[in-house]
Amino acid sequence: MSSASASPTLDQLLAPYMGQGRTMLLPALHAVQQAQGHIGFEAATAIARALDVPVADVFGVVEFYALFSAEPRGQHTIRVCHGPVCRAHGADQVAQALSAHLGVAEGETTPDGQWTLERFPCLGLCEHAPAVLVDDRAVAPADPAHPEAVLHPTPEDEPKPVVGGSVRVLTAWEDPTQPRSLRAYRAAGGYRALEQNLPAEEIVARVKASGLFGRGGAAFPTGLKWQFAAQAPAQPKYVVVNADESEPGTFKDRALLEADPHAVLEGALLAARAIAAEKIYIYLRGEYGRAYRILQRALHEARDAGFVGPQAGVEVEIRRGAGAYVCGEETALFESIEGKRGFPRLKPPYPTTHGLFGRPTVINNVETLAAVPFIVREGPDAYRAWGTDESPGPKLFPVSGDVARPGVYEAPFGITLGELLELAGGPRGEVQAILLGGAAGFFVGPDALQVPLTLEDLRAAGLALGSAAVMVFNTQRDLRQVLLDVAHFFAEESCGKCYPCQLGTQRQYELLQRIFAGRAQPQDLALLDDVGWTMTDASLCGLGQTAANAVLSAKRLWPHLFEAGSEDA
């Protein structure tokens, strides 16, 4: 952070965005937030003028995103992750140590204006729990015995991806701790798929034949999505890379972005060619500072090599999110790029005809796109050598919690949950519960270790693949606390648009607090069901519809946890 005398003026800060309209709102807010520590009325008014946005809307957007603040903050902001895995691995001790060291409570700023201490719903660093973010540098695991070290992270300290697995297709790199350079990527066959200059129809045909489906959670067939967007008559068209991975337990996309950014870029460039899009947006989770720096460098390399830019006929722009889980929902993400609060839109219409800026858009998860270069280069049959008919290919599984080596593991679809845990070094302690598919997924017990991880097997078992996250909790962990953390996450992250989620996430959290504290009222268990099913059945978007999965599944499996007077579960 620069000293006061060298601080850029508002005019200087906003010069790069002047006259570019509302879509530049988040970039402008990031610039002001970083330089001034908050976005006050004067700055908001200047931004409103520069981008021709109502000042009320500027304020509304500032209020929506956790990384923006309308109130002054300290020079540096320390965010202590309170996701379920970090919480189970000492987040409270870290927060207490920092609080004692700085002499401030959570939510407060030190008297010298240097440090603001906050708890944060999730930082996406579950494999390195407990995690802390200092401005945009991560420290994980954070050591509560050395709070002063937590405050001054160096690039060397930053947590790097931990990667393993039984196959190496998406993870066919040598060192996950270093981003694979353009040269190394090309030496391994990278960008060859793009350089083949295949006709758009052929690219779509190969992706369709591969059976690739979306890796963000909804599992929609990728080739079909591309075909719809290719057939949509309106112009221009867009490709959007959904790199807003924000669900507790999910950190696979960060590993890909940090270790192999060119694979993601090439996949997006192939998508752009397939649908004749001239613009690609990469919407990256705001908390992913290291991934941002790596991605920027990779984009420079790709531009220098002629894969991106005017001569390539396609532009790529990286946009940073600003702390909102809901922006991983595809239509909320569009709203965010358009400079608005991240409210999900009604569907239909769907993104393939009415996406970003109302235009035909392909939006894909990072891992989905990273699989595309292999599919186009080697052919669909090569890809189908792994997995099952309905769930072909290799898959990344982020495994965290009580296993010997938390990390991202690549395995073919069909691997059982138990085999996957063995890839991660096996459980640490005795498995009590696994939260499968992310915080929006379902709890299972140790009896589910035999379940093959495929779409079809999970569906048959009443489960879902979701983001493929696997969070393991051993018998030492307090499952009630885990459930409270998950419920708190959704209450914090609900966008507030539709009533079932806006009200239900809050009531779900309050009911759980009451039930677990032994203060349940007679009707509370029935209410918990009503609230959960109402969110599941009636919420506007997929995030609200899954915000009760963990609680409802735990209640089915372990009813004793919810009964009064059974404190010893």
């Binding site: 609900s494 079932p500 099913w533």
Partner: protein, 241 residues
């Protein structure tokens, strides 16, 4: 494309113009479907979810106000799933917000046997009344976050953009930029927001003062002399931010 579609609503066949919503189709079939955020003059945001209905083959319930009626659809407007969703949503809403001056919502609460008291002591959205201009008062403790005022102030009617949302999730509230008073905001006092408010959250100041016990004569007298003179003693002045 055919000009009409035929579908079944609660066992009854209806034929409606193609492009109709399920809400319109249900009304054509004589079925009552509760609505709250829906207003015929505004873009339906589809967010209150009170109008949800069950459509055979659909995974989740569908908001009738924004779902197109499809040929051959089989729709249930009061199935057990629908009843549960409406009852729970209404009870949660009433447990968070003062609905005393929303008679339509009170009727819905009765109709669906929704019991907000069942939630016991939980967080409510309570805010001080804002009386910062001569035209209308704002009591956001009665606000149901239906978006109508924000929409009317913006591109659905006035293009004034005085209103937005502060906070997020349960703690979302309607606000001016940085909570400035209405006279400091771009508000032109057109009254559109007051006209579309479905609860007592936005109210003409005169109505409010009459409710407080002032007589029309008193108000006329004060208005002729100095409108600022009428400051009901019960009113909080919430200078925000």
């Amino acid at each position: 494309m055919a000009d009409t579609v035929r579908l079944t609503i609660d066992g009854q066949e209806v034929t409606v113009p193609a492009g109709s919503t399920l809400l319109q189709a249900a009304q054509a079939a004589g079925r009552e479907v509760p609505t709250l955020c829906y207003h015929e003059a505004l873009t339906p945001p589809g967010l209150c979810r009170l109008c949800v209905v069950e459509v055979d083959g659909a995974r989740t319930l569908q908001a009738a106000c924004v779902t197109e009626a499809r040929d051959g659809a089989v729709v249930h407007t009061r199935s057990p799933r629908v009843e549960r969703a409406r009852r729970t949503t209404l009870a949660m809403l009433a447990s968070a917000t003062n609905l005393d001056e929303a008679p339509q919502l009170q009727a819905y609460l009765q109709d669906y046997a929704a019991d907000p008291a069942a939630f016991g002591p939980v967080a409510r959205r309570e805010y001080p009344l804002i009386d910062d201009n001569p035209m209308y008062v704002r009591d956001y403790s009665q606000c149901v976050l239906c978006w109508r005022c924000v929409q009317a102030c913006a591109t659905d009617a006035q293009y004034v953009f005085a209103l937005t949302f502060a906070g997020r999730g349960f703690h979302t509230r309607i606000s001016t930029a940085y909570g400035v008073s209405m006279p400091e905001s771009p508000c032109v006092f057109c009254g559109q927001c007051v006209a579309v408010c479905p609860t007592g959250a936005l109210k003409p100041r005169r109505t409010f003062l009459l409710e407080q016990g002032y007589t029309p004569e008193q108000l006329a007298h004060y208005a002729a002399v100095d409108h600022d003179a009428v400051h009901p003693p019960a009113t909080h002045y919430a200078g925000q931010v």
